[in-house]
């Protein structure tokens, strides 16, 4: 089972990455992540919204209510400058971690 820390870290990276492409509301964010990871990452409400609220409190993203063309009110999230700044080291950290794991498993199978 994947630990809470790892799951939280990957979820943060996934959210920041999709928001880098533009503002999104919760449903659209979850859908894009699921599509782009070919279903490997699926967010439940309990995984997505507490994470969004926490990231908002840290100042990485900002949410605001907007009315869509169909007249529905949706809370859209945007990446803040602090979030953009966070994304780059986060990507680097995860790339290093996965690189290390890949090397390790290759050595283990060699």
């Amino acid at each position: 089972m994947i630990g809470t820390g790892i799951k939280r870290g990957t979820a943060e990276l996934a959210i920041l990455s999709v928001l880098e492409e533009g503002p999104l509301h919760g449903y659209e964010m979850a859908r894009r992540i699921e599509e782009q990871t070919k279903g490997a990452l699926r967010f439940t409400l309990a995984a997505l919204y507490p994470m969004l609220y926490r990231m908002e409190q840290r100042g990485w993203i900002r949410g605001a209510w907007e009315t869509s063309q169909s007249g529905r009110r949706k809370r859209c999230y945007r990446l803040t400058p602090a979030g953009k700044k966070k994304l780059s080291p986060l990507r680097k950290e995860w790339a290093e971690l996965f690189g290390a794991l890949k090397r390790l498993t290759k050595v283990a199978h060699a």
Binding site: H25, G26, Y27, A30, R31, T44, L45, A46, L48, Y49, P50, M51, Y53, R54, Q57, R72, R73, K74, R75
Partner: protein, 227 residues
């Protein structure tokens, strides 16, 4: 179409946030469920299957409510493990010990279980054993309420016998490395202690915990939520 706002309101009832903040969260989550449901219908899914699939996004409302509360408040007052295991477990232990003391003081004498009326197998406080399923149920329920998994619910329920188990396991260690306890502790006494203080009470605690576990596992089924 299900009333998603009503479902979310019901699921998040008891969320300790200001009225406006709570309404904002409800609206956002209901919107998410509604969009998911509509998208599934557009994909050709049947209405009942779409409802089930949509509700699977919020399978544990207790967990969701707690996580949202922490995230919006910006702090965790107690760690998960403390709330899901230690607190329910210690409460169950305190309650079972208190009851045992009362029964030892005011209740009937202990009953010695024996094999063929000759070989004593264990000393049992029957009234205490009869009350233990309620303690087990309480431990499991408190753990569940704090969002504990099945494993933590069961651990919290059997927590009251763990100190007894630890002290029984320490007897052979003490015998090997020191003389803190009398040397006349035989294997039979250990078996009796294990039976009377761990296995039988543990089974009684589990007897109370398992229905709770079963009940809440069924309740987690999205189909159980009324529209």
């Amino acid at each position: 179409m299900p009333d998603w706002r009503e479902i979310v309101s019901k699921g998040l009832s008891g969320l300790k946030l200001g009225a406006a903040e709570k309404e904002e969260v409800r609206a956002e989550l209901a919107e998410h469920l509604e969009e998911t449901y509509e998208a599934l219908l557009r994909e050709g899914m049947s209405e009942s299957a779409a409802i089930r699939r949509t509700l699977s996004l919020a399978e544990d409302w207790n967990d969701l409510r707690r996580k949202i509360h922490w995230a919006r408040k910006g702090k965790e007052t107690m760690t998960d493990r403390m709330k899901q295991l230690w607190l329910p477990g210690i409460l169950a232990f305190a309650l079972s010990t208190g009851m045992l003391v009362l029964i030892q003081t005011y209740g009937p004498k202990l009953w010695v279980a024996s094999w063929r009326g000759v070989l004593p197998l264990g000393k049992l406080y029957i009234p205490w054993l009869l009350l233990l399923p309620f303690v087990g149920a309480m431990g499991a329920y408190l753990s569940h309420r704090a969002g504990g998994s099945r494993r933590l619910m069961l651990s919290s329920a059997v927590f009251p016998v763990l100190p007894f188990l630890a002290s029984i396991l320490l007897v052979p260690v003490n015998l090997m490395f020191g003389d803190f306890i009398g040397q006349n502790v035989g294997l039979m006494s250990l078996v009796m202690a294990l039976l009377g203080w761990v296995l039988v009470p543990g089974a009684a605690l589990l007897a109370g915990a398992l229905p709770v576990l079963f009940f809440f596992s069924r309740q987690k089924d999205p189909q159980q939520i009324a529209f």
